[in-house]
């Protein structure tokens, strides 16, 4: 239990952050992180960091498949509209986050996951292990992911400016 405790101390925060970036839902990110560590308790991994993140990403995919089957889509902006109006700065930030998330959704699952893992400081070796890629393919994957994210975000921004 001490080992998992140490894993928790070291990796809980970055895991939640990665999940939150992926899902846009902090509560769900915390839940999936908890589930990930629960699985680590059941089967303590040899190489914990890539294992934990790979399991978390698998849980995200399962979550997405489950939600689609149930016909449920999480739209955070709509949920926010039911609460009291947010200050302009907060609203603007949320809009920007929605644009980034929409751009991220334009990437393939593999490209998106590689990008999120790299943002958490994973080495190419670790990304390859977590995603089941050849190490030599990680650079190409990231090159494509970064380019598409920036282009997709730029297109989204231009589209919104044109509309306004």
């Amino acid at each position: 239990m001490t080992d998992v405790g140490q894993l928790f101390r070291l990796y809980h925060a970055p895991l939640v952050r990665m999940l939150q970036r992926r899902l846009g839902d902090r509560d769900r990110a915390e839940e999936l992180a908890q589930e990930t560590f629960a699985r680590a308790v059941q089967s303590p991994p040899d190489n914990p960091r890539p294992w934990l993140f790979a399991v978390a990403l698998n849980l995200v995919r399962e979550d997405a498949r489950r939600n689609e089957r149930q016909g449920r889509r999480l739209t955070l902006l709509k949920a926010d509209e039911t609460t009291s109006p947010a200050p302009d700065a907060v609203f603007e930030r949320r809009e920007q986050q929605a644009r980034v998330r929409a751009a991220l959704d334009r990437l393939s699952a593999r490209d998106r996951e590689a990008l999120l893992l790299k943002a958490e400081g994973f080495s190419y070796e670790e990304i390859a292990e977590a995603l089941g890629l050849a190490r030599g393919a990680v650079g190409t994957t990231l090159a494509r992911a970064r380019k598409r994210l920036v282009e997709a975000y730029g297109a989204k921004e231009r589209g919104e400016h044109a509309a306004s």
Binding site: Q6, A13, Q20, V100, K118, V138, G139, R144, R146, V150
Partner: protein, 372 residues
């Protein structure tokens, strides 16, 4: 000529190439303008992608300060003797001067209110003559040369000096974002730390920082009416800052979010191990046997010798006498320019490091050998 693949270019950017691959790639870049231009563009794209991902972060995830298990404050060997240093980081000296200026402005603003009660209200935007002269007397102009040059009496050369009181951690945090030194403004009784955010109470915002930096400009006598109007505006703004930074009531204000450095977009302030690892692209280096007090992200512009476009991870150790040791770390770009931290730094893996602190050079050299 065969050009570099995108995957190789990105592996170079991410410092993931094997030494022989890297050498071959750099050899190619030396003779291929097209690939050199692509590398530059891809670096920009990489930076933009990283910044977009940071936008997705709503609030800092619960940070836990890293403390290697089973290690005491000082382990094997004699305790580190903290004696005043001969030279300190010019950045710390500038911050202290800004803090003193901000503190003096507070005193003046308070005095202005007192004078208002004593007689006719001062003309809007001006301070009573006595207050102005106090400001001028307490905040001597410091030239860039003076700030940069090491001084025998600078820093902590005299630990009993009343004129240059030692900064506490709290004072440094306040100074870092330009708000008044807490020695003149008592902190709240119970600064709030929420369960989800261990970042201690920090005075926020670039706006407040900008406002608190105005006192230095107010000392000059304006030459024109337009300057006078601008000066009145700044004085009023400074007075607003002083009113806004009066001691808080018992219910402490919520902890504000980290500010970001304009040069890099990275968070500035206290950070956790995970954020530090992300910034460095790998593990954070620590001094074996010493307990980490704090890890901070500092703008590269504020650390001498650092790459100004990125932040520096600063691992802080505090000794029993209140002295500090900074282990500064920044990812090495491997470019043709001067290495990060110059000759004072050294490299471990892909990270450049430098050690400074309130210790003798001999002690620093000993500690360098303990960095892991």
């Amino acid at each position: 000529m065969q050009h570099l693949e995108d995957g190789i270019i990105h592996a170079l950017i991410d410092e993931e190439l094997e030494p022989d691959e890297r050498a071959a790639t750099e050899e190619h870049l030396a003779t291929c303008a097209s690939c050199t231009a692509r590398l530059k563009r891809q670096r920009t794209v990489t930076g933009e992608a990283d910044e977009l991902l940071v936008v997705l972060d709503d609030e800092p995830v619960a940070q836990r300060a890293y403390s290697p298990p089973g290690r005491d404050t000082v382990s094997h060997g004699p305790p580190v003797v903290l004696v005043p240093a001969g030279a300190i980081d010019a950045h710390r000296r500038r911050r202290r001067i800004q803090g003193l200026a901000a503190a003096a402005m507070l005193v003046v603003a308070s005095g202005a209110g007192w004078f208002a009660l004593q007689g006719p209200p001062p003309e809007e935007g001006t301070l009573p003559a006595a207050a102005e002269s106090r400001v001028a007397a307490s905040d001597p102009e410091v030239s860039t040369e003076q700030a940069a040059a090491p001084s025998a009496t600078s820093g902590f050369a005299d630990t009993n000096a009343a004129s240059a009181p030692m900064e506490t951690d709290q004072s440094r945090r306040d100074l870092a974002d330009g708000s008044p030194n807490p020695r003149t403004v008592p902190p709240p009784a119970n600064p709030e730390r929420t369960a989800s955010n261990n970042v201690p109470s920090e005075r926020p915002t670039a706006a407040a920082r900008q406002q608190s930096q105005t006192p230095a400009q107010d000392r000059a006598v304006p030459a024109s009416a337009r300057d006078e109007a601008a000066r009145r505006e700044r004085v009023n703004a400074a007075a607003e800052v002083s009113r806004a930074t009066e001691p808080a009531p018992a219910a402490a204000a919520p902890v504000p979010a980290l500010v970001t450095a304009p040069s890099s977009g990275e968070p500035v302030g206290r950070i956790g191990l995970d954020v530090a690892e992300r910034m460095l692209g790998g593990p954070v280096h620590v001094i074996d046997g010493l307990r980490v007090s704090e890890i901070r992200s500092v703008s590269g512009r504020d650390v001498r010798g650092a790459d100004r476009s990125r932040n520096v991870v600063r691992v802080i150790y505090r000794g029993p006498d209140g002295g500090e040791i900074f282990l500064d770390q920044q990812r090495s770009t491997g470019g043709d320019g001067d290495p990060v931290f110059g000759a004072a730094g050294w490299q471990l893996g892909t990270v450049r490091l430098r050690l400074t602190g309130d210790v003798t050079n001999d002690s620093l050299n000993t500690l360098v050998g303990k960095v892991r």
